[in-house]
Amino acid sequence: MPASVAQKPEGGAPPALEARNLTLSWDEGAHVVVRDFSLVADAGETVCLVGRSGCGKTTILHALSGLTRPLEGTVLLRGEDITGRPGRVSYMLQKDLLLPSKRIIDNVSLPLVIGGMKRTEARAKAAPLFERFGLAGTEQMWPSQLSGGMRQRAAFLRTYLMGNEVVLLDEPFSALDAITRVDLRSWYCEMAHGLRLASVVITHDVDEAVSMADRIYVLHGSPSEGVPTTVAGEIAVPRTAALASAEVDDFSLTPEYIYCKREVLELLG
């Protein structure tokens, strides 16, 4: 873990990931896509960004990951400025992007090898995690031999082995069939919570956002028509409270779920 540079004067440690007043553009500022976007995600927390297609969700993740530099604003990792510096937060896309030329064990341990670890050492570090990620027995297989759900699990393991506290996920479940999607989603939430990861998840599926997130940022705007995207509202999802008071053990059957969903839909407009 890198030492955090700037501790806030009051209050505890700075949050795992914080974005302050990001203004983002395509083509070097000629076309502002996102204006004044701020976000906080702490360890063990899942926050979702919900917005219509083309509103600039992926542009935001690119900026958070450091792949692009915002026109204005800063991205802080535990208080340290990482604006425009890739390599400090993990990023996972909708596509699993497994390399067809590498066996699963080598695909998932790729971040370790990139980080300078010897290949045998990287394999040894990745191998014990296969069980936990539901990948037992696939170590020596090629990506083309795996189903979509299994490939995505491998992509999760690779993302995890990037070794960062913060994980950015760009519609990670949308390429999967409905049943696999629900299974993998609840598996991910449990695992991310257990590992105390701070997850930022993009989705255009309101149900997915409400069932996964601790907090939802609803985005509004249409950059292609010249209206930059802004945060229309921030909704805390009272999952624990709802489950404590309800007789069901499925959050999606509680009144709070419906209430949250309606609120998100209203903000989306």
Binding site: H62, R88, V89, K95, L99, P100, L110, P143
Partner: protein, 259 residues
């Protein structure tokens, strides 16, 4: 793996072209034997086989020269093509500068520049190697450039979020991603290599299948000439087969996936 006998589709794939070749050879033999075409103009297949056997030691010597030239030329051609492709992929300026030149260079007929090369570089190995390099680097460079460029830009972004350097991205993603295209280019280059060697030998040299071919043609020994032609085909096929075997060894994931 299923044997030929157990797999009807595979059996048909081998049997049908084999029958075609067999019938063609039989017709050829009959045409000559029945005197439809004068024998001094067209030797029968059996005569070609006999000429090959009789000439075997001589053919082997000449083939040795041709093989050395081809393999050397191909190796240099592949190396030049690889370097050109890497530079063209890395620097847009190099791509813009070289792309039209490379394309134009391929429209110049080999047969036309071969005499010039002999004039400039003499009867030795140099003009042959240069001609082979000129013809073989192109398929390799073009296929590699398109292979490098076909890599998913999202994959490159992902690598950058892992903190990968340009060299790591190149070695881990671009090179394996371009292998398939590379080998299809190399297969074409391999056939060009043998043909290029023979053409440059026609125009001057001391040994090699092209030199030998010119000699037997001048002495009207057409059965021997056909023997050389067959040998050239066999060498080209062998070199292509070698490329295929190399591809299998380099890309195990492509052949294991259907298990």
């Amino acid at each position: 793996m299923a044997t030929v006998a157990q797999d009807p589709a595979r059996f048909r794939r081998i049997a049908i072209p084999a029958v075609t070749v067999g019938v063609a050879l039989l017709l050829w033999e009959l045409t000559v034997r029945m005197g439809v075409v004068p024998n001094f103009l067209l030797p029968a297949p059996t005569q070609v086989v006999m000429a090959s056997v009789a000439d075997a030691p001589l053919l082997a010597t000449h083939a040795g020269t041709t093989i050395v030239e081809s393999v050397l030329g191909l190796a240099i051609g592949v190396a030049v093509g690889f370097v050109a492709a890497v530079l063209m992929d890395r620097y847009e300026t190099v791509y813009l500068a070289l792309d039209p030149l490379i394309t134009v260079s391929q429209t110049i007929p080999t047969v036309a520049i071969a005499p010039l090369l002999v004039l400039w570089f003499g009867y030795g190995l140099a003009p042959k190697i240069i001609l082979i390099v000129l013809t073989t680097f192109f398929p390799v460079a073009v296929s590699l450039v398109s292979g490098f460029r076909a890599v998913d830009p999202d994959m490159i972004d992902l690598m950058r979020t892992m903190g990968a350097s340009d060299l790591q991205i190149f070695l881990q993603v671009k090179v394996p991603g371009a292998l398939e295209q590379f080998f299809s280019g190399l297969r074409i280059s391999a056939t060009y290599a043998i043909v290029g060697a023979v053409i440059s030998e026609w125009l001057g040299g001391f040994s090699g299948l092209g030199v030998y071919m010119t000699r037997v043609r001048k002495s009207f020994a057409y059965d021997r000439m056909f023997a050389v032609i067959v040998l050239i085909s066999v060498l080209s096929l062998a070199l292509m087969k070698l490329v295929d075997l190399q591809e299998r060894a380099c890309m195990p994931w492509k052949h294991e996936e259907r298990k």
